[in-house]
Amino acid sequence: MATVKLRDVRKAFGAIEVIKGVTVDIADGEFVILVGPSGCGKSTLLRMIAGLEDVTSGDVAIADRRINHVAPKDRDIAMVFQNYALYPHMTVAQNMGFSLKLAGVPKPKIREQVEHAAESLGLTPYLDRYPKELSGGQRQRVATGRAIVRNPAVFLFDEPLSNLDAALRVQMRSEIRELQRRLGVTSIYVTHDQVEAMTMADKIVVLRDGLVEQVGAPLELYDRPANVFVATFIGSPSMNMFECDATGGTLKLFGDVALPLPDGVTGEAGMSLGIRPDAIEVVAEQTPGAFQAQVTSLEATGSETMLFAVRDGIAITVVTKARLASGAGDQVWLRPDAGAMHLFGADGQRVN
């Protein structure tokens, strides 16, 4: 068990810098998720912690020990790879016990540890099988088992669920999380799936273009995104963004709707107003603060309805518990919840 500290970590491939100075503190036993769109550098960052990529500059420390130049095997870490990377020529038991074998652990001890891990993952009946004889979910479990057998200080997961079907992914999500809680091992998990990040993490690190956009607990990021990128990236369906003019003391939306400026915010030109789809109400008639939009489609799941509308070329998504009578092509009145507004300045940073 250990803390992980990244201090102004940078990585360049030739002239191209892909990690541009990342500083993150990970507490002992914390489950941290690195999330971001593809190409944001999250996997590279994980591989740098693993020792599979060199650190161009900055410091990586595990348990307060600087490990920039320590070999992967001496970092006391275990990694679960995206495509599992199980050794095809070894049985499940051999795969799981390989690191112990290399470390010179006596055979009976290896067997005991492998069996223990296999039991906790429900892999006992498969110990003598080869990876190709297993299903995707079982392989994933073996990969996880291989990591926990070594009892490392830090777990690293590189998009471990991306090769599974949706139902299995949901199941494995909670299995991994439950396992991590039980073992209490510091874990760093990379995903591009913000739902995975929201549901699993103690702390999320949102990355874009090699820079940290925001660090925080899942709901912190959801409730108070630090900038437009995080606001639109976290949450599904994604947050509605409107350009608005706030120079006149109020927020002017679509030129005609005026909303009160939140306290302590000075209006400026080129601001963005973000409103979550569930913070917009569908109202029957024109009320103060409501604007009109045209329905493009409706998706009713029973428990809730998703309404897609458009106004002045801007797409709007609304999620409501109410059953709606409107259909595609109808005009509806939409009223944003004034208390749930996210306001961003012209530079994209949060101002309220």
Partner: protein
């Protein structure tokens, strides 16, 4: 018919293809079976009815040939081929792994040089090789044949292994790194066990070449007791000029080991060769 899956044409096409392949097999098998059947005949039958079957198959010729000198040739061939092929497999695996994994200075040039060596014909360097081996007092020794065989087998083998290692899944080795393997253990525990097809191809390919090699053996192994099978069979024929069944029995014994090996390992051999065009 599985083998015809590449030609999913008409039935007539399939028949034509099969007839062609049957003819091809006949062309290959005829001389081979002639040799084996000939060994079972009497000398008289050989001349009266060269293509016919023996009236009373005489297996004794095989034992006779074996005792008349084929045994020594056979042992020489096994030692020379076995050791040189082992050397080639070990050295080419190490070289190819280093060339694909370690980005040392000039590694690209080393590979290019290897490819160039592949283009050197043995005839061009016969004289210097002879001189070198003579100076080293290696003429008429097993080592004197093993070293040039290994040297000439290496370039092609390195190229073959290089292309295999080049495409070896990186994450398996990365998993190895995290599990605690250095480069040697990675090669030994992760890469080599999964490289069986290419290792076997390299071994068989070189074995075929070395087992049948004649030219180098002629100039290096001048004393009779050191001769390998191809060389020995020639002198065997001269010595027993009139004993055709004996000579044919000796040839049969000489061809058998490769046939057996190839039948056992042909799955790997075909798989590896089929992947070469990539």
């Amino acid at each position: 018919m599985k083998s015809l899956a590449f030609f999913p044409r008409t039935r007539r096409m399939a028949i034509i293809m099969h007839l062609f392949l049957l003819g091809y097999v006949a062309v290959i098998l005829f001389p081979l079976s002639w040799v084996v059947i000939g060994a079972l005949k009497t000398n008289r039958e050989m001349f009266l009815d060269p293509t016919g079957l023996p009236a009373d198959p005489n297996w004794g010729k095989f034992i006779e040939a074996w005792n008349a000198g084929v045994r020594d040739f056979f042992i020489n061939s096994v030692v020379v081929s076995g050791v040189s092929v082992a050397l080639i497999v070990i050295a080419s695996a190490l070289a190819a792994y280093a060339l694909t994994r370690m980005n040392f200075r000039y590694s690209g040039w080393v590979y290019l040089l290897t490819v160039l060596c592949f283009a050197i014909p043995v005839h061009a360097v016969l004289v210097p090789i002879y001189g070198l081996l003579s100076d080293l007092h290696l003429l008429n020794t097993h080592l004197g044949l093993i070293l040039p065989y290994a040297a000439f087998g290496l370039p092609f083998s390195i190229i073959l292994m290089y292309s295999f290692f080049y495409e070896f899944p990186a994450e398996l080795e990365e998993a190895g790194k995290l599990d605690g393997c250095g480069p040697w253990r990675r090669l030994w525990f992760v890469v080599l066990p999964l490289s069986r097809p290419v290792l076997i191809s390299v071994a068989i390919f070189n074995l075929v070449g070395v087992w049948n090699e004649f030219l180098l053996a002629t100039i290096i192994m001048t004393s009779k007791h050191m001769q390998t099978l191809p060389l020995g069979l020639v002198s065997f024929r001269d010595q027993y000029g009139t004993d055709w069944p004996g000579t044919l029995a000796a040839i049969s014994i000489g061809s058998l080991p490769l046939l057996v090996l190839f039948v056992i390992f042909q799955k790997y051999f075909v798989r590896s060769m089929a992947g070469m065009g990539k």
